[in-house]
Amino acid sequence: MPALTDFTPTTELLTGSPKMMYTYFLLNQCAKYLDAMQNPKNINVDSATAALLAFCPDVPKRNQFWDAFVERKKDTEVGTITASILTIGDFQAYLSEVLEFTEKSAGVF
């Protein structure tokens, strides 16, 4: 897996809001993570998953995701790589809600 520390944000994004910066950073890491998962031969999947989950801003939620990963891993039919991808998928769904990637509409009377 490529080093997770080679993140160099562009000048324009450095002036963005913290939410924007965080989103950019995380999506960057996710792209690298997906690259790594496509060629997982020399990768320590546990560490890669933990490294990505480490950026979850909510500590109890982070532990919850990690526990889910460990649980899934036990299922031999699923396997470590799939368990990792599914867990990161859950993490993204959670972030999507928290960061309001998909804004929902509502009406009242």
Partner: protein, 343 residues
């Protein structure tokens, strides 16, 4: 909610969550969201379903009757004929029903046509405010007439601004209408808690879609900032509000008909007043002229009579005698006599 009503709602194709959760989930915020909401509003109206709860009105009632001793004022804008008055009537009628439910009273105790200032000038609005009891819903229709931004420094605007600034202990729910919020005096706008806009009118469908935002003004570091935010209820930011006619509520049946009639009378009165003012403006009577006319009315007959009597006796006109009788200066007596000769 009993099973029969539940079945009726489901048969009409209205999601039950609209009633149980207090808001209608419209899915992703895209153009179709409005269409989805309109469909639901339309189904509720056409199938005569019970109205879903209104978290906005519950919030207003909580605020005016709560411990924090707040009132709630706002304005609604929209072009002529878009349904500003109907929308205001609906919100205020719903408020009256909610607050009456809370205290077990008649909704008409809190909102009626007497609480509506229809095309009133400042004096008319002040009369309504003077008579309004606590916790009332008050509608200032076409508020730009009494609180126009072009009259911003006049004494009447200043006086009304003073009342609206200090009226918090009255705990009113005041809604003002204007075609554009900028038509209303700036100080008045800065006192608003919310601004609403008639987003879409569905006159045929019997409802309007409104957008309501909370409004806050701050003045910091020499700059004025305006913050407009959507209201959030049940952890959801609300994009659209549906407003039917107040006639939909039993206690306010026929309200809009009576309102329209009064409004027409108010329009005629306004046109008559303004055309009268315009005539005076185009044919002004200045102060000096007015004074002469007043004096002529008061002393004209005395001056004429004394002059005629002196002439009969063959004596010259004595200005001093007339002056002693009327209290006018000899010059003024001459001016008035010259006028009298022309008549």
């Amino acid at each position: 909610m009993d099973d029969e009503i539940k079945a009726h709602i489901e048969a009409a194709g209205v999601p039950l969550s609209t009633y149980t959760e207090g808001y209608t989930d419209l899915g992703p915020a895209n153009r179709s969201a409005l269409k989805r909401f309109v469909n639901i509003c339309d189904k509720i109206y056409k199938n005569k379903l019970p109205l879903p709860p209104s978290p906005f009105i519950e919030f207003v009632v909580e605020r005016t009757t709560g411990k924090s001793k707040q009132d709630f004022t706002g304005m609604i804008d929209g072009k002529k004929g878009r349904g500003k008055s109907t929308t205001t009537g609906y919100e205020e009628a719903r408020y009256a029903i909610e607050i009456a439910d809370k205290w077990g009273q008649d909704p008409k105790d809190y909102f009626s046509l007497d609480n509506c200032a229809l095309l009133e000038d400042t004096e008319g609005i002040m009369r309504i405010l003077e008579e309004a009891e606590k916790y009332q819903a008050i509608m200032l229709d076409d508020a730009s007439l009494a609180l126009g931004s072009r009259d911003f420094a006049t004494q009447k605007n200043k006086n009304l601004n003073k009342i609206m600034t200090a009226c918090r202990p009255k705990r009113w729910f005041v809604m003002q209408n204007a075609p554009m919020t900028s038509h209303i005096d700036l100080q008045q706008r800065e006192l608003m808690d919310f601004v609403a806009h008639v987003y879409k009118s569905y006159h045929d469908g019997g409802f309007n879609i409104i957008k309501i935002n909370s409004e806050e003004f701050t003045y910091r570091m020499g700059k004025k900032r305006v913050y407009e935010k959507r209201f959030s209820f049940y952890d959801r930011k609300i994009d659209f509000y549906c407003a039917y006619s107040p006639d939909i509520f039993d206690p306010f049946e026929g309200f809009m008909e009576k309102y329209d009639k009064q409004r027409e009378e108010a329009t005629n009165r306004l046109i008559r007043d303004i055309s009268g003012q315009e005539k005076t403006r185009s044919n002004p009577v200045n102060k000096r002229e007015k004074n002469i006319l007043d004096l002529l009315e008061k002393h004209g007959w005395t001056i004429k009579k004394m002059k005629e009597e002196l002439n009969k006796k063959g004596k010259p006109t004595s200005l001093y005698q007339i002056s002693a009788e009327t209290g006018l200066t000899p010059h003024m007596i001459n001016v008035l006599y010259a006028r009298l000769k022309k008549i």
